[in-house]
């Protein structure tokens, strides 16, 4: 398959089925009745999600990619991006974009909070979500050579208010660098512009969040904009901010894989350098952005 060019990416084509490599012929009879894989992902559900999300992707967010060819066409890679919006819109945009353009599945790592919520947790898992556990990430990257998407800021990214937009939070404890080193795969940084404005958080009701056991309890602009029209559902609708994504050069680590541990300071340095690259790219993109809505 030809690598997608920046040209083909700007005019997103029709949805193609994502190619999933067939497992080696099993010797044992395995009377499976569904296509749910070990991670809970169902390619049929994923296909349905892409079909439903395509109009949103093309006409609402009008997503534009830059440097998509830097994402490896095969082999494992850990994609890391900045995280924003009270209900993060960046994860579906990144997963949809890469899956349709590269025809490769993307597994999105997320907090265990998802798993605890009935219905949502199951749908999320069928649509390619995986609990962010080091063992899960390692197995996906090392043994299955998949693309894995992680947001090292965690819930601190979407949990920031609008006045702090595009200010990257701390990259956790740099666990993502350690996993990529152990798995022997590159980290591909992605800078996302647009998500912040798609659901800006005006205020965070911290005591309510604490009472509910949530990372944050937002008052969003969307509630005020769509609330009068749609009622409570308005809180779930994103604003039509223009999305621009820039894929940065993959970061390869000069260390052997599968070591029991890696130098703490090297791990932290690499994480900080990746954070800085994304931050710089964001500032550069924002400098050239004329309008939040038109890009």
């Amino acid at each position: 398959m030809a690598r997608p060019t920046a040209e083909s990416v700007r005019t997103p084509g029709q949805l193609l089925p994502v190619h999933v490599p067939a497992p080696a012929a099993p010797e044992l009879a395995d009377p499976r009745a569904s296509d749910v894989d070990e991670w809970g992902r169902s390619e049929r559900t994923r296909q349905l999600a892409r079909t439903l999300f395509a109009p949103m992707y093309d006409h609402w967010f009008r997503v534009e990619w830059e440097g998509l060819e830097k994402i490896p066409a095969d082999g494992g890679a850990l994609l890391v991006a900045n995280h924003a919006a009270a209900i993060p819109s960046d994860a579906p945009v990144i997963m949809h974009g890469i899956e349709t353009e590269l025809q490769r599945p993307v597994y999105g790592l997320a907090d265990e909070l998802f798993k605890k919520v009935p219905v949502v947790g199951t749908l999320w898992s069928r649509a390619g979500g995986v609990l962010a556990h080091p063992d899960n990430a390692y197995r996906l990257l090392r043994q299955q050579q998949q693309l894995v998407l992680a947001f090292p800021e965690g819930s601190k990214g979407p949990g920031k208010t609008f006045d702090e937009r595009y200010q990257l939070r701390r990259f956790g404890r740099a666990g993502f660098v350690q996993i990529a080193m152990r798995a022997g795969v590159p980290v591909v940084p992605i800078a996302v512009v647009g998500a912040e404005e798609s659901m800006p958080m005006l205020a965070n009701l911290a005591p309510l969040a604490k009472a509910l056991g949530l990372p944050y309890a937002p008052i969003t602009a969307n509630m005020l904009a769509f609330g009068p029209l749609l009622g409570p559902l308005g809180a779930l609708v994103h604003l039509p901010a223009k999305f621009k994504l820039r894929v940065l050069d993959p970061v390869h680590f000069d260390v052997p894989p599968d070591q029991p541990r890696y130098s703490r300071s090297k791990v932290m340095d690499e994480a900080e350098s990746i954070r800085q690259q994304i931050q710089d790219a964001l500032y550069d993109m924002l400098r050239h952005r004329r309008s939040v809505w038109r890009g």
Partner: protein, 343 residues
């Protein structure tokens, strides 16, 4: 001189199956089976000894029979079958006495049948547990606490007795024609209970593979901890689907309110099963496979084999059950009237 084997839990499905398989092995000279209950299978040369549930007579038996191998299958992981105290007596005190008797004795090999319940089941768990994956939180349920204590004794024994090869097998959810477990009983219901909004992935191991795994580690003298589980993870809804049944969604909160009511109707949903129905659990079976073990069933295959045998049983009824009679067994084993063929 051949092996001399002591099997605990001869009255359980596992103990009897293992003893029966060992009888066919000419390298095994003596098989002694211990249990509070009589064996469920017809055994040819296994000697059954009735004991109390925590094996207080064990050291005398080990001393008298000079066994070199102990297969400890008598660990209760089905918390619906007995009260907490009896489970503690059997699992913890029984294992403690077993190891007390095995210390500084003729024993050189110990195989313990543990369970995947030791790993717990929580939303923050990885999809696959390897033998080394630590628990993130302390054990939550009775059966988990009990197994944790048992495995602690096993580890202590292994450290204190470096000359003994100690093997611990952690089995996934077992399904098969003969065995009844909390999960198999759920799958036998006309509609299969599930937790509303949850459809976790389950893993199963066929009962034949359980017996084969125990014999495999005995044969190959493998020491260490091994997960035993069929390949693959499948959603609970698919498990029900393979069984040709629909699921019935139960509220995912307030289980305490309705599980006791369901229990009165004969539908047992112990808390460790409720957790499983929400988060599932997968065991990485790579270590035992790398040691050379071949499974006969995948996880989905085990479900299918289970439901096929259930359909057969529903149609033709259970096969004739064996009833242990001491006099009859004694006659076959000891009477001069019986012509014993040399093995």
């Amino acid at each position: 001189m051949g092996k001399r084997v002591l099997v605990t839990g001869l009255g359980t499905f596992w103990g009897a199956r293992v003893a029966k398989a060992l009888e066919a092995d000419p390298a095994v000279d003596v098989i002694v089976g211990l249990d509070t209950r009589e064996p469920l299978l017809e055994l040819e040369r296994t000697e059954y000894v009735k004991s109390d549930e925590n094996y207080s007579i064990l050291s005398r038996i080990v001393e008298a029979t000079q066994v070199d191998t102990i297969v400890h299958t008598f660990l209760v992981v089905d918390s619906t079958q007995m009260r907490g105290r009896s489970m503690h007596e059997i699992n913890v005190i029984g294992t403690m006495n077993l190891f007390a008797a095995a210390t500084d004795s003729s024993v050189r090999t110990v195989v313990v049948k543990s369970s995947s319940y030791i790993y717990g089941c929580e939303p923050g768990d990885p999809v696959w547990f390897t033998e080394e994956t630590p628990r993130q939180n302390p054990p939550k349920h009775r059966v988990e606490r009990s197994l944790t204590e048992v495995e602690g004794y096993v580890r202590d024994f292994a450290v204190d007795n470096p000359h003994v090869a100690v093997t611990m097998l952690r089995f996934s959810n077992v399904l098969g024609p003969e065995l009844s477990t909390p999960l198999s009983r759920l799958l036998e219901l006309p509609v299969v209970p599930s937790m509303f909004g949850f459809d976790p992935r389950f893993q199963f191991v066929h009962e034949d593979d359980v017996v084969r795994a125990i014999l495999f580690v005995l044969d190959h003298e493998l020491a260490g901890v091994f997960n035993v589980a069929g390949d693959g993870l499948l959603p609970w809804s698919e498990v029900a689907g393979i069984c040709g049944k629909r699921t019935l969604a139960l509220p995912p909160i307030g289980q305490g309110l309705y599980t006791s009511a369901l229990g009165r109707l004969g539908i047992d949903l112990p808390p460790e099963i409720v957790d499983l129905l929400k988060y599932g659990r997968g065991l990485d079976n790579g270590r035992l496979k790398r040691a050379g073990f071949d499974y006969t069933h995948t996880a989905a295959g085990a479900v299918e084999a289970f439901i096929e045998s259930l359909r057969l049983k529903r149609t033709v009824g259970p096969t004739a059950e064996y009833q242990y009679e001491r006099e009859v067994e004694d006659f076959f084993r000891r009477s001069p009237a019986v012509v014993r063929r040399p093995r």
